[in-house]
């Protein structure tokens, strides 16, 4: 099961997928912000969004799972 993790510590400023969405490899699923730099989080595998484990505005740590794909 491919989880999509935060690659930096930062704040979730935008979630760009919804549960049930079909995601292709390379699609941006969320955008993190850290020290005013925007960091797109891209899927490394294709799949269907089963669960979104973060909210916009939430602080996340490197390695935290943001989105779970089936």
């Amino acid at each position: 099961m491919p989880d999509i993790e935060a690659h930096i510590t930062g704040t979730v400023w935008k979630i760009e997928c919804q549960v049930g969405d079909q995601i292709a490899e390379g699609d941006t699923v969320a955008i993190l912000e850290s020290m005013k730099m925007e960091m797109p989080v891209e899927a490394e595998d294709a799949g269907t969004v089963r669960e979104i484990l973060c909210e916009e505005g939430q602080a996340v740590n490197e390695g935290d799972t943001l989105v779970v794909l089936d």
Binding site: H7, I8, W13, K14, K36, M37, E38, P40
Partner: protein, 233 residues
């Protein structure tokens, strides 16, 4: 000059930063520059649109490999230096000019969007500067908040060269030197600020590049994300 080569220019692009990100992902070297006369889907920070009449703004994005952690602040400093002594920075990196002689710097002349792929070791910094924009050509809601350098479209090349030179210098500064230079151009210090958590007075930039606010209850907060506004709600 290591920034600015190779240089891809297009009459029209959806977004110079989107193109630069594609190039970076495909292996484009440090310093790769993308410019356009017109953007059809220009973006500012937090997904806001960036619009300018055709040919009147400098629109450029630069690929940086191994970018400094405080790239968004270094970009603001570089653009402010390139524009001149009167330019100030609204944290993190809007560049402001005074509305007139003696006025506080309050009108936005340039915007910056830094986007990174830290796991791949690159970032793209997108810069838009109102070089030859005529304010009367902008939407009415921007008339009181936008500024222009008032130059000609041909002057975009000169402004671009200055920005590349200043950016090249700013990204090599160590954190202390960067923050010291940035603080000299801090447009917010001492001014009333509104942000999503309330109101406060800007008290400067801390050693991590965060904006420090003095709160009405005597406390302090350091912001490293989100958005702040000058003045009242």
């Amino acid at each position: 000059m290591t920034l600015g080569s190779p240089h891809l220019h297009a009459a029209t692009l959806a977004s110079t930063s989107d193109r630069a990100r594609e190039l970076a992902a495909a292996g484009a070297p440090h310093g790769t520059l993308v410019t356009a006369d017109v953007q059809t889907a220009g973006r500012g920070r937090q997904g806001r649109r960036w619009e300018a009449p055709a040919g009147s703004a400098l629109l450029c994005s630069i690929v940086l490999r191994d970018p400094p952690e405080l790239l968004p602040l270094a970009g603001g400093l570089a653009v402010a230096r390139a524009i001149g002594d009167g330019a100030r920075i609204k944290w993190p990196n809007d560049v402001l000019l005074p509305a007139g002689p003696g006025a506080a710097p309050g009108r936005k002349v340039a915007g910056i969007l830094a986007e990174g792929r830290p796991q791949d070791g690159w970032a793209v910094i997108g810069i838009g500067v109102n070089v030859a924009v005529r304010l009367e050509d902008l939407p009415p809601e921007l008339h009181d908040t936008a500024a222009t350098l008032g130059l000609t479209p041909a002057d975009r090349a000169i402004v671009l060269e200055r920005i590349l030179r200043e950016l090249e210098s700013a990204i090599t500064l160590d954190t202390a030197a960067l923050l010291a230079a940035y603080r000299e151009r801090d447009a917010l210090r001492g001014r009333a600020i509104t942000w999503s958590g309330g109101t406060g007075v800007a008290a400067g930039i801390d050693g991590s590049g965060r904006l420090v606010l003095d709160l009405p209850d005597g406390g302090h907060v350091a912001l490293d994300a989100g958005e702040v506004h000058l003045g009242r709600v």
